[in-house]
């Protein structure tokens, strides 16, 4: 899923200075699962903003709303019904959701309430970690199901580099060395021979380097 992290209230406060009436829009997708932008977080953030603005003697009206998904037109209807009575929308969906709202509601400023951080997993309750960089060219079959692009700090294709120590990365003793993980996994699978092969240069054109990406399924179009 897409992982996000709530922006500091102070930063959001600075964004909403010009407004007295805003919609605070959550999303029931990924950001709900990672506890950054769901219904619950909408309530918590709204309270915090109310209190902060009251303390400034400049109260704010906040319409709380949680959309099924902010990245699909069909789920934006509840927002469409209410938006005209408000000056701006503070979205705590991922960056895709924020931008989709900006495209669909052209007269309203759409403000981001979270930082979208990565595509990852829930490693344990309250801990999320990165797994995929959506490079557009998956090579997990060659690396034991562990991605060197996302998990090696240098995205090395032929790691590990000389900074791998006791299973950890040179950048931080808390960060696993992605290539040590790959090595251990291939060893367990009896596939260490895969590491003998020089991995060829990567085609980064499927990554963001090739420009904004688009996927079209003609058979699904209406």
């Amino acid at each position: 899923m897409i992982i996000a992290d709530g922006k500091p209230v102070k930063e959001i406060m600075a964004m909403i200075v010009p407004y007295q009436k805003i919609v605070l829009a959550g999303c029931k997708g990924c950001v709900t699962v990672c506890s950054a932008g769901g219904e619950k977080e909408v309530g918590i953030l709204a309270s915090a903003l109310h209190l902060a603005r009251q303390a400034e003697g400049n109260p704010i009206e906040i319409k709380e709303i949680s959309l099924e998904r902010q990245c699909d037109t069909e789920y934006l209807e509840p927002l469409r019904r209410d938006i005209d009575g408000y000056q701006a929308v503070l979205s705590i969906a991922c960056g895709a959701g924020v931008q989709f709202l900006a495209e669909k509601f052209r007269k309203h400023p759409i403000l981001p309430g979270v930082n979208t951080t990565f595509i990852g997993v829930t490693e344990e309750q309250g801990v999320w970690t990165e797994r995929c960089q959506s490079c557009g060219n998956c090579l997990l079959d060659q690396t034991g199901g562990i991605c060197p692009i996302a998990r090696c700090s240098k995205s090395l294709m032929n790691g590990p580099c000389g900074g791998s120590k006791a299973g950890k990365c040179e950048i931080d003793s808390q960060v696993d060395c992605g290539w040590q993980l790959i090595y251990d996994r291939l060893k367990d699978l009896g596939q260490l021979d895969k590491l003998e092969k020089v991995m060829p240069l990567k085609d980064w054109s499927k990554n963001r380097d090739g420009g904004p990406r688009k996927r079209v399924r003609e058979d699904l179009k209406i």
Binding site: K154, L156, N158, K165, I171, D172, E196, W204
Partner: protein, 307 residues
């Protein structure tokens, strides 16, 4: 001869090579380079010029390498994958060759987190092994990566690094084999303090016959103090310093620490000379170039051969 550099001639001639290292200034001051050059000249066969090592901004390795060439020394231009994509790197390789540079060392590069610009974006379009392949393709196939023909071939002697002390240990020799397969000509290792572990590494290198395919220069760095030894052990990624060395530096006391450091370094070189498959040493006396002459002399490696 692939490049005809001094270093290549010495190694292919079966001589025990000595290379040094020079860290460019954190600015445009050529006098700093001149001062270091005076200390290194005549003592080493080629000088590595680091490429923004530890991700701290310095004068570019290509520029300093060209200056060394003008000053009559042979540079080995280091090139890291952190800061440039395949377009910039190939372009710089052309430029380096045009400026007279004949040795290149292909490295991944320290992560920018360590340096003075930790908020920078990194590149890593290629990794060090792919950079070796790139230089080899340019040199031997006369083509850039896209397959386009080259107008004037950069005949480079291709080097890379190996760290026998990083983990996983068993993989280190496999990675070296990959560098050999990619087309590397010579290897310089990380600073060695744990000689026994290095011997085990070299045993594995010989079992694979790698020492017959590539030249291996063993890295050494003289210790200045027990504090430096401890720092190397604890803080520098991929470095191992055995307690025996730390104890020797400690026992020497503050007064004699530097002398003990030199003594250890000379002893290491003597031992390295006896290890089959070691073709030379790479002396990294970083910001302590004053001792290079003495170490090389005491190790019995002077005068350097003219080839």
């Amino acid at each position: 001869m692939k490049a005809g550099s001094n270093l290549e001639k010495i190694l292919t001639g079966g001589r025990f090579a000595v290379t040094g290292e020079l860290g460019p200034p954190k600015g445009a001051d050529v006098a700093i380079i001149e001062r270091k050059v005076k200390l290194l000249k005549g003592n080493v066969d080629a000088i590595n010029v680091t490429d923004n090592q530890t991700a701290i901004v310095r004068m570019s390795s290509i520029a300093v390498s060209a200056l060394l060439k003008q000053m009559g020394l042979e540079p080995t231009m280091q090139m890291v994958c952190r800061d440039r994509n395949r377009i910039a790197m190939q372009s710089d390789i052309f430029g380096a060759y045009a400026l007279g540079i004949r040795n290149i060392l292909c490295l991944s590069g320290d992560h920018q987190k360590f340096g003075n610009h930790p908020t920078a974006k990194n590149v890593f379009d290629l990794d060090s092994i792919q950079l070796i392949q790139t230089v080899k393709k340019m040199r031997d196939e006369h083509k850039v990566l896209s397959g386009d023909e080259i107008e004037g071939v950069p005949q480079m002697f291709i080097g890379a690094a190996a760290n026998p002390f990083a983990d996983p240990f068993e993989f280190r020799v496999i990675r070296l084999a990959k560098k050999a397969a990619a087309g590397v000509d010579f290897i310089q290792t990380q600073c060695i303090y744990d000689m026994d572990k290095f011997e085990r590494f070299m045993q594995m290198v010989r079992e694979r016959g790698l020492h017959e395919k590539i030249f291996i220069l063993a890295g050494v760095t003289p210790l200045k103090s027990v504090g430096m030894a401890r720092y190397m052990k604890e803080k520098v990624a991929g470095m191992e310093v055995p307690d025996e060395i730390i104890n020797r530096m400690k026992a020497a006391g503050k007064e004699k620490a530097k002398e003990e450091g030199l003594k250890i370094c000379v002893e290491q070189i003597q031992r390295l000379k006896t290890i089959p498959g070691v073709h030379g040493i790479h002396l990294m006396a970083i910001e302590w170039e004053e001792v290079v002459h003495e170490i090389i002399e005491r190790a019995g490696l002077l005068p350097r051969p003219t080839v």
